[in-house]
Assembly symmetry: C2
Homo-oligomer: 519 residues x 2
Amino acid sequence: MTKIKEVKNALGRMVPVEINGQAVVPYKGIGKHKPTGRKHAPRIYSCADYPADGDKRVKSLKDALIKCGLKDGMTISTHHHFRNGDLIANQIFDIAKEMGIKNLIWYPSASFPCHEHLVPYLEDGTIHHIEGSMNGPLGKFASLGKMKGVGVLRSHGGRYQSIQDGEVIIDIAVIAAPTADPFGNATGDRGPAACGLLGFALADSQYADRVVVVTDNIVPFPCIPWQIHGNYVDFVVEVDQVGIAEKIVSGTTEITKSPDRLLIAELTSKFCDEAGMVKDGFSYQAGAGGTALSIGIFFEEILRERNIKARFIRAGSNKYPVKMLEDGYVDYILDGQTFDLEGVRSMRENEGHVNTSPFTSYNYHGKGNFTTLVDIAILGATEVDLNFNANVVSHSDGYLLHGIGGWQNCLFSKCTILPIPLFRDRIPVIVDEVTTICGPGELIDVIVTERGIAINPLRKDLIKKMKGSKLPIKSIQELKEEAEKICGKPKKAETTDKVVAAIKWVDGTVIDVVRQVKI
Amino acid sequence: MTKIKEVKNALGRMVPVEINGQAVVPYKGIGKHKPTGRKHAPRIYSCADYPADGDKRVKSLKDALIKCGLKDGMTISTHHHFRNGDLIANQIFDIAKEMGIKNLIWYPSASFPCHEHLVPYLEDGTIHHIEGSMNGPLGKFASLGKMKGVGVLRSHGGRYQSIQDGEVIIDIAVIAAPTADPFGNATGDRGPAACGLLGFALADSQYADRVVVVTDNIVPFPCIPWQIHGNYVDFVVEVDQVGIAEKIVSGTTEITKSPDRLLIAELTSKFCDEAGMVKDGFSYQAGAGGTALSIGIFFEEILRERNIKARFIRAGSNKYPVKMLEDGYVDYILDGQTFDLEGVRSMRENEGHVNTSPFTSYNYHGKGNFTTLVDIAILGATEVDLNFNANVVSHSDGYLLHGIGGWQNCLFSKCTILPIPLFRDRIPVIVDEVTTICGPGELIDVIVTERGIAINPLRKDLIKKMKGSKLPIKSIQELKEEAEKICGKPKKAETTDKVVAAIKWVDGTVIDVVRQVKI
């Protein structure tokens, strides 16, 4: 195998000019890569080729895949609304294996530990490689250089962008739907396996050549609401169980009890308030981790005290934002992914709990998206460097263990804050150089740790606003030194030259790569 | 000017092989034209080129049009949700005239008498031609051969198809929206000029190069619901009044009082019932004319008596279907266009009153559409011939005076019924040859007149079912003779050879043309 040429991108990272045989563009800086082409143009279909009675049901998933023309080298997409409760992706590749199909590309919107089942198919060549997050076991497999192709990780918005722009052409999309009608209209907000919404499958439905909806709850036409339009769907398959809804639960789902985390949450909300960001009509996005949830609780307290209201919460919803909505502290939840069953119930019941998608919220190659309208984004990171560049996919030992999710997209909010512990398992989080750059420091405004808050020097406005604050404002250098005083200087991960995964930026350029871990 | 070659299409009509300089395909028969290409691929945009604060407002419609690069020869689209209360289309061409722009193509989803204002622009070359229905004055203008280009009439579904397939490439779409946010999310169901929905502008928003939303009711982001996604929108313009909502009223909006029409309505509903079509879970589509409304009332009576329920009404909604929904006689209204303010209210208030679009309901170049799922479609016609071919756009004097609307699309229902008077103004409706063929007789199942019901001989199943019925079942030949006995044989329209408008079939082929009226 000849070594692929590598070039230095705008963040100083060496990245290959070609990935899986396809030319790629190195990261050029924020907003610097201007797309010039046209969107992917799917084939023109004709109603003459679809059943006149609108009944697109076929007898099994296998039957549907055969009718879709499943063959070697195809790209198969699935979505992750069931998270670790997904039952369908594994079945697809069981069928492919049984049929002797090889070299498939799996293009999930995210993968989870339940997909460890696919490791043998990565080994025997049924699956060539995965494009999508590789949480846990699959990430470890890839990190050790065992995957035949190079993994490609994208943000949720980047996934929409890549499909829209024709970077990834999906041959068959399989959409697991908690409720559907025989025409293929589908929704996630009701049915025995209700998981909330199906927005991650939107691009797949719009652009894939063939689309299969799998459900365990067929209703007579029309399935209302139709989060997925049957007009994009080729086949409908009925199964006994389409997913395990209880397993959509993500994060701790409870506010943190750790004194350090609670302190971080308190510092974060105080910072936001002192900087004048928590005001009538403001908006924020926070994840489902214990710290993020606690920040939400602090925000709610401020709203209650001042008798004001947030305009919207961008979510990952769960019971906490739902309660704020139902108590009248926020007008809208703009939801991309429900993280518990209260979120699912609310999406079904509350008009103000709105179904969104990576198209509306995150796609960088649209005429704007929602992220830039969010006042405060609360995000995480595994590592942050002195330039505020951050990592969310790998650990300091070099292992790729997490997906990007909406993280890169949310960096475009008006104020991006990373509330993070100064160290984890005695490994400092603030480092000289992150193992993998997932987001450029220019977009990361504030780091909040239990021992102090660092404001990005680029945010002169925030620095000015916080002058005279009693909050522990420090430089990021100071925070790093404090951590190193306690834990020592962390070792760098040891890797070979081999690229095992590429990290795409929101515009499709390559911001960094993950290299094989040396063992 | 050299005469363009004409060929005979599958219905025996002579049609040109080229229209406005673009090659066209003659009608080949139902489902016979198989598209082979790919959908129109719009340019890839970048968020880097849109305001980071999401505020896309510019100071005036003129400013927006200039920023869109308005220039000679462009195609400008508008939608007709305000029907005869549209205030925006005329302004666009006032601005174009003022700027000295020439040869524009106007691509409305329909035009109305209020657009007579544009006649001078058709005369002076500001507008080259209109693609879209030409109701009333514009139709008369075109019929007299005065338009510079050839008009192209499409069904609502055909309009979506033509945009999707790249037959018509829209340079600038202007969407009049009763409520919008500065990002361009827009809805028709609320605001001072609430008109219901904006589905006719969906294709325009998805495929036009530049999209302008005009509104008189700006709300803070997010505008919920977002019938139009701001992610497709370039500019937002605030105006004092965006449309006259009261003028959306279409049809008589009252059930008929004419004894003949009432008889037709009664015969139609009895026919449907005897044929076993009015049953639990059935569906129908009916227009807003007095006869159609009365048929709905008859259906409702049957449902009430038998304590059963319709599954859905495809509409054009107004107070009658809304009452059925609110009284529990139907699960859903799948609405494409609200015909009165009760319809608007219901769309805002009732979860079961669902916003649809020509994409979901009518597009023939999709993976199925809703029309084939409708049990009974009640439609009109200006003329029907002995082969059940029907005309909806022109009168027997040759004048093009009506649009196609969803008529062609609805022909694909399971049973298409035309309840029509045997004659109008002493001119028979059933004729040897219709002035303009808009729909092939194969798809028209039943003609109901005040003097008898004719079943299409192709529907052997219906003929069998109605054996022994006391309803006045006759042959279409008999009905024609009865009319001619009363009114005499109608004269054929006198026309020149000049093609003034083409009628497209749902698949983009040319089913017929309208020729210049000889005066």
